[in-house]
């Protein structure tokens, strides 16, 4: 009985040490524990030109990932961004808004150009090869997964938040799916200021 108690107390002590270490690491350590989002990438814009992180320098940017054959989240998010840009008016020019197509087979520069023509023309559409997309997604900590169903339809699960970055490329915050539009607009205004 006594030995059981000792073991239990030892486990408690271990848990406390573990929690303490995690707390220290999160608050005081220089070790990066996963909050570095963003970084260099090489993609192609809708005009067929090479587009890298350098093209975004000097302006804060909002970036989100999706695919054009997505029936629900992607067009609604793009329309929300279009609405925000309209509300921002000329202030919207101080912001880069980037839509990254994760579907390397169908989201070609030409196709993205056609698709994005329905939305605010300030938006930048990026295409890439399978590898370029994978590398960019890794840097931006985006999850996406290609799947093929019984009918041979290609679908993608993907992170659906809008990521906001400072002009120097530092990650600032996100706009989540279903976020209050007023809060979202405030976040964009803060990003521009």
């Amino acid at each position: 009985m006594k030995s059981v108690r000792i073991v239990l107390w030892a486990l408690v002590a271990l848990a406390l040490v573990g929690a303490g270490l995690l707390y220290w690491q999160k608050n005081y350590s220089d070790v990066d524990i996963g909050f570095s989002i963003g970084g260099p990438f090489t993609m192609t814009d809708t005009k067929g030109q090479v587009f890298t992180q350098a093209n975004l320098k000097g302006k804060p940017y909002a970036m989100f990932f999706g695919f054009t054959h997505c029936p629900d989240v992607c067009p609604t998010t793009l329309w929300e961004m279009t609405t925000y840009l309209k509300q921002l008016g000329t202030d919207g020019d101080k912001l880069n808004v980037v839509f990254v197509g994760v579907d390397h087979e169908r989201d070609t520069p030409e196709h993205l150009a056609t698709y994005l023509s329905a939305f605010d023309d300030r938006m930048i559409g990026l295409s890439g090869t399978e590898r370029q997309i994978a590398e960019m997604a890794k840097a931006y900590r985006i999850y996406y997964k290609r799947s093929v169903n019984d009918d041979d339809d290609v679908l993608y699960d993907h992170s659906a938040s809008i990521y906001l970055f400072e002009a120097n490329g530092d990650f600032k915050s996100t706009i989540a799916q279903g976020e209050n539009p007023e809060t979202a607009l405030e976040k964009l205004k803060l990003l521009i200021d």
């Binding site: 029936p71 067009p75 698709y115 329905a118």
Partner: protein, 163 residues
């Protein structure tokens, strides 16, 4: 008001028979239809962005009956296929999957198709509808049978029928 609405529905929602003799419920009111114990309301779809042959449609389905029913399938003239899909967000990741073998609507409950949740996935659109159009979807229920429902078409990216 309720009596008036019911009377109106009685006159506007009629059941006809198609060539094969199967009863098909019809409705003249966009967004609303009644098929036996099944009440469909708030139905709408939206225009898709250019160059895309997929779309989505939404509605609420209430089962007023005492027995569970099942939405088996749906179709619309301008598309090869319509599927029942569930979309979910988990930890910020959107995932979508087809609901196999139909969607159960339990007695006395409603299933809501809306952005970010259940939707009718419209596939292989030849010429997709434009905002302002009204299109007809045919829904097939296991017990209630076939029902035609008129759906208003909202603009690209709209999150509801009104915007």
């Amino acid at each position: 008001m309720r009596i008036l609405a019911s009377t109106l529905l009685f006159f506007l929602l009629t059941a006809t028979a198609n060539a094969s003799g199967t009863k098909v419920y019809d409705s003249d009111i966009p967004g609303v239809a009644i098929a036996g114990d099944i009440f469909v309301a708030g139905a709408w779809t939206r225009q898709s962005p250019p160059g895309v042959d997929v779309g989505a449609a939404y509605m609420r389905i209430k089962n007023n009956g005492e027995k569970s029913d099942r939405l088996l399938s749906a179709e619309v003239m301008y598309a090869d296929e319509v599927e029942i899909h569930m979309m979910g967000m988990k930890d910020g990741v959107m995932s979508m999957s087809e609901v196999e073998d139909g969607l159960e609507i339990e007695s006395g409950t409603a299933v809501v198709f809306e952005p970010g949740s259940y939707h009718l996935m419209v596939k292989g659109m030849t010429e997709g509808p434009m905002a302002g159009d009204i299109v007809t979807f045919m829904l097939e229920f296991e017990k209630a049978g076939l029902v035609n429902i008129l759906m208003p078409v909202a603009p690209i990216g709209a999150k509801g029928p009104q915007n």
